[in-house]
Amino acid sequence: MIRAALVLGMMLTGAATAGPIGDADRGAALFQRQCSACHQIGPEAINRVGPRLTGLFGRRAGSVEGFDYSKSMARMGSDGLVWTMQTLDAYIENPKVLVSATRMRFRGLQDEQARSDLIAFLREWSDRPRDIPEAEPTARRSTPQLSPEVLAIRGDPEFGAYLSSECSTCHQRDGSDQGIPSITHWPPEDFVLAMHAYRQKLRPHPVMQMMAGRLTEEEIAALAAYYAGID
């Protein structure tokens, strides 16, 4: 839970101070070091371990022809997740914020400047980079700061069990996941991250945006504790 608190803290601090677009040259070097083992970008790029990243901006998540995505990424795509400055920033900072069971094995890039640089580079290979708006400080939703203390709340599983009756109308306790993902035995940290991403409307699903939007910090923690420990 502590790690979730730190990561989220950073995510939200970042949101308050998003600066201008980064340096694409520095981004290119970063891409070379951190991404190119799995991803290609450019006119000739093909899918390898990861999908080709040419034309990434404005593309629906999980939509590159011929690439075999994780179920989680495909679901986000059909829910309507589109790669923009804002969603890419969140994904690169911590992939699980947006896609819980992504196959991209990448720990995340915490340094905000580095993310801006990388995004500036990725953007050069998108269709009409000039038309893609710069990241203004107002381009993201301003979210109330969540202190690590609030996020480190120990969830009350008994309260979570009651609250879960709202979830179990759709998400089956036995972990079946036809059409609706399983949330049973979800690691609490991922649970908390995902709920906050819905609250901020980074994740696109309207039912979940509404459900998460009305949960308090304490309720999210309670649910996470309950679902992690379900029999």
Partner: protein, 422 residues
């Protein structure tokens, strides 16, 4: 965006729990008894949660005459040929396994003074708390010319079962180029988008087997749930097939003549081939017998608990309740039942009581893989269960999203039936 949120703190938990403990409702050697009337989404959910969460501390009896329950939800998909009938049918073994006693009979009388329910079998059940979830009945005379006695000729199919099968066979054997007519109900009624989903499914069926057929909807409402989405879908998938007449076009004041298969619109008789009459609705009759209904025919309840406004020992959930903004749906009934179960356990066993929360989402299928949804979350206020936030699918959404919405509805059906029946 967050609506006004009921802040839950540890302090309020202790407060409510202590209050419940200070005044336990029942003492004695026997376990507190809860009788639940009606084994639909409201009653079965409530009975199962009461038994399962009290770990044997309560004696829970479900009174339901039918050995198996057929869901109205997804019965339109059966009409459209997307599901077989058996997939709609559920038994009560899961409830029995959770410790619920099943009384396979009807409740005929409720004496709230002595806290007794009289059964069709002649037995009498005593209760400490009573839950009533009888669903709906039809308001006599709401469609001139029609009564329940005509349901074999002009089916309602608004309670799933033989009526649903009858309606489907009538549509299948309709003459080529014939007219299917629906008399739609006035508000409030069970499942607001239901009539229009039904029309979509019948249009889908007819498009394949009887493409020159026509569908006529006679509607006393000037607007209806998900209207823009249905209209767009009908235009796309079934152009020229569906005609909707609202009250300004005579759709409001119709009379039907089952003997001649006619509907009378604005004084003009028109011959139709299949006629689906969905009358105005009221709470299931046992609620009236129990003296719980107001002049509207529904049961006013306390939004904080789902207890009747006139008797705090009787909880009424599901379609029969008049609670405010929630639509009459299986999702709502399931959500309300869990709140009632928690409150009842708190009162009878001193278990922790948390603030009530309610939600609803209704999915509808317009055509193959073209699903839409509408939903909201709710909070209790002293006056009513009030909608605090809502969403609805948008016209013109990509096919991919509509497909995902449809698949989600399949997941929902599995999820909610497991939650209701175990």
């Amino acid at each position: 965006m967050t609506g006004p949120v009921l802040r839950v703190t540890r302090r309020t938990f202790i407060g409510t729990t202590a209050a419940a403990l200070a005044a336990p409702a029942v003492f004695g050697q026997t376990k507190p008894r809860v009788v639940v009337i009606g084994g639909g989404p409201g009653g079965a959910t409530c009975a199962r949660y009461l038994a399962k969460d009290s770990g044997g501390a309560l004696d829970v009896t479900l009174v339901e005459p039918n050995a198996r329950y057929t869901t109205c939800f997804f019965s339109n998909l059966y009409l459209g040929g997307f599901r077989d009938f058996d997939s709609l049918v559920h038994g009560y073994d899961g409830l029995a396994a959770a410790g619920v006693t099943i009384a396979a009979t009807t409740a005929e009388g409720v004496d709230r003074d002595t806290r007794r329910v009289t059964l069709g079998s002649g037995d009498v059940l005593e209760y400490d708390r009573l839950v009533i979830s009888p669903g709906i009945d039809f308001r006599d005379g709401s469609v001139p010319g029609w009564s329940l006695a005509n349901a074999e000729v002009m089916p309602h199919a608004w309670k799933a079962g033989p009526q649903t099968k009858l309606l489907k066979s009538m549509v299948e054997s309709m003459r080529q180029g014939g007219t299917f007519c629906m008399v739609a109900p006035p508000n409030p009624y069970r499942c607001p988008p239901g009539p229009y989903e039904r029309v979509s499914m019948i249009a889908h069926l007819l498009t394949q087997t009887n493409p020159t057929a026509r569908i006529l909807i006679l509607d006393p409402k000037d607007k209806y749930s998900k209207q823009a989405l249905f209209e767009e879908g009908w235009q796309t998938h079934y152009p020229g097939m569906i005609e909707w007449l609202g009250p300004d076009m005579g759709g409001g004041a119709v009379e039907v003549r089952p003997a001649t298969m006619e509907v009378v619109i604005d004084g003009e008789a028109e011959k139709v081939d299949v006629c689906n009459v969905i009358p105005a609705q009221i709470a299931g009759r046992i609620a009236e017998i129990a003296g719980l209904c107001d002049e509207t025919g529904w049961v006013p309840v306390d939004p904080l608990s789902m207890a009747s406004r006139v008797d705090a020992g009787v909880f009424v959930v599901g379609d029969a309740s008049a609670q405010g903004d929630m639509p009459k749906s299986a999702f709502s009934a399931n959500s309300q039942a869990k709140v009632a179960a928690m409150k009842i356990r708190g009162e009878l066993t001193g278990s922790r009581v948390f603030p009530a929360k309610y939600t609803n989402t209704c999915w509808s299928l317009i055509a193959p893989k073209d699903g839409v949804k509408v939903g909201a979350s709710y909070e209790p206020t002293p006056e009513k269960i009030a909608s605090v936030e809502s969403f609805i699918s948008q016209p013109g959404e990509p096919a991919e999203l509509r497909r995902a919405t449809y698949e989600e509805s399949l997941g929902w059906y599995q999820g909610i039936t497991a939650d209701i029946f175990g």
